[in-house]
């Protein structure tokens, strides 16, 4: 654990990279390393965070251009090896655009950019990303997005439900997401994408610590 290093990916337009790094280093004493999007060498990181922001200015679609960066190309092998990848907000959008997670994220139903705290039900503890030992648990995390409405077809939704891939659901759906979905994992559980920002909920002085568990779980094997 001492040398465990989390790679925080920096795209042109990322703006939560430093927040993630601060939360991991300052609140959890986990070492981080910034990874420029043009790097494809992931050999010295043990887990990866794709942070929030507006990679490539959200041109074309959110996450659409980032998908073609050398780093995302190298991510396939990283994920297959079972290492953990956390995509937050724009990072979630990149994970769906690049096919690591199913579905897509589209403009909020009411067209507003929503910046608020939301209550979330932990639906599945697959991958150990959330502290959901035995009973239904609710956490509060901030969201900040204009295009966070999760969309998928009914077959995909059934697969998500049947395989317990839905990690988080909004208690009061703020953006029109299908089935109130706020976060999902891949089948193996080592990739999590979510719209809420756990890194913004890691210290009581900024409103809560419900995000700590998820960031801390990056070090799980």
């Amino acid at each position: 654990m001492d040398n465990f290093t989390v790679g925080v990916v920096v795209f042109p337009g990322s703006n939560c990279d430093r927040d993630v790094s601060w939360a991991l280093e300052g609140c959890l004493d986990i070492r981080t390393k910034y990874l420029w999007h043009e790097s494809s060498d992931l050999s010295d990181v043990d887990a990866i965070v794709l942070p929030g922001g507006f990679s490539y200015g959200d041109y074309l679609r959110c996450g659409a251009i980032a998908r073609f960066s050398p780093l995302i190309n190298a991510l396939d092998e990283f994920v297959k090896s079972g290492k953990r990848v956390l995509g937050i907000c724009n990072g979630f959008q990149i994970l769906t655009e690049s096919g690591f997670l199913p579905g897509a994220l589209v403009a909020n139903k009411n067209l507003n950019f929503i910046c608020d705290d939301v209550e979330l039900d932990i639906v599945s503890s697959k991958g150990g990303w959330f502290n959901n030992v035995d009973e239904k648990q609710t956490i509060k995390l901030p969201i900040a997005h204009g295009e966070g409405r999760y969309h998928c077809d009914s077959d995909t939704l059934k697969k998500l439900v049947d395989n317990e891939l839905i990690a988080l659901r909004y208690k009061n759906n703020p953006n029109g997401s299908s089935f109130d979905i706020a976060g999902i994992t891949n089948e193996k559980g080592n990739v999590l994408g979510l719209m809420p920002h756990p890194e913004r909920a890691c210290d009581e002085t900024i409103g809560g610590t419900d995000g700590l568990f998820t960031l801390k779980s990056l070090i799980l094997k």
Binding site: L60, R61, A64, V106, N110, L111, H151, C152, D153
Partner: protein, 84 residues
């Protein structure tokens, strides 16, 4: 080498809600336009591209549409092609 002008239209699939289209429809009605049954917003992408004949160029455009221009989870695409 032949050169082609391609117009690609990318649209949200009918099953995907288009809130920007709904907002524009509402504004259209406020402007006084009557009879609007539906209004949906898409994208048009213009490409000039070279290739050995139409088939090769169609192959390139299909790849671009499927992998980049459209996200087929939420969008459909079609294109027209004109030899220059």
């Amino acid at each position: 080498m032949d050169q082609f002008a391609v117009k690609v239209f990318v649209r949200l699939r009918p099953s995907v809600l288009d809130p920007a289209g709904e907002a524009t429809k509402s504004a259209s009605i406020k402007l006084g336009a009557e009879g609007i049954k539906s209004l949906r917003i898409g994208k048009m992408i213009e490409v000039k591209i070279e290739g050995n004949g139409e088939n090769e160029v169609r192959g390139k455009i299909d790849l671009l549409c499927q992998r980049l221009f459209a996200n087929t989870v939420i969008e459909d695409y079609e294109y027209s092609l004109e030899k220059l």
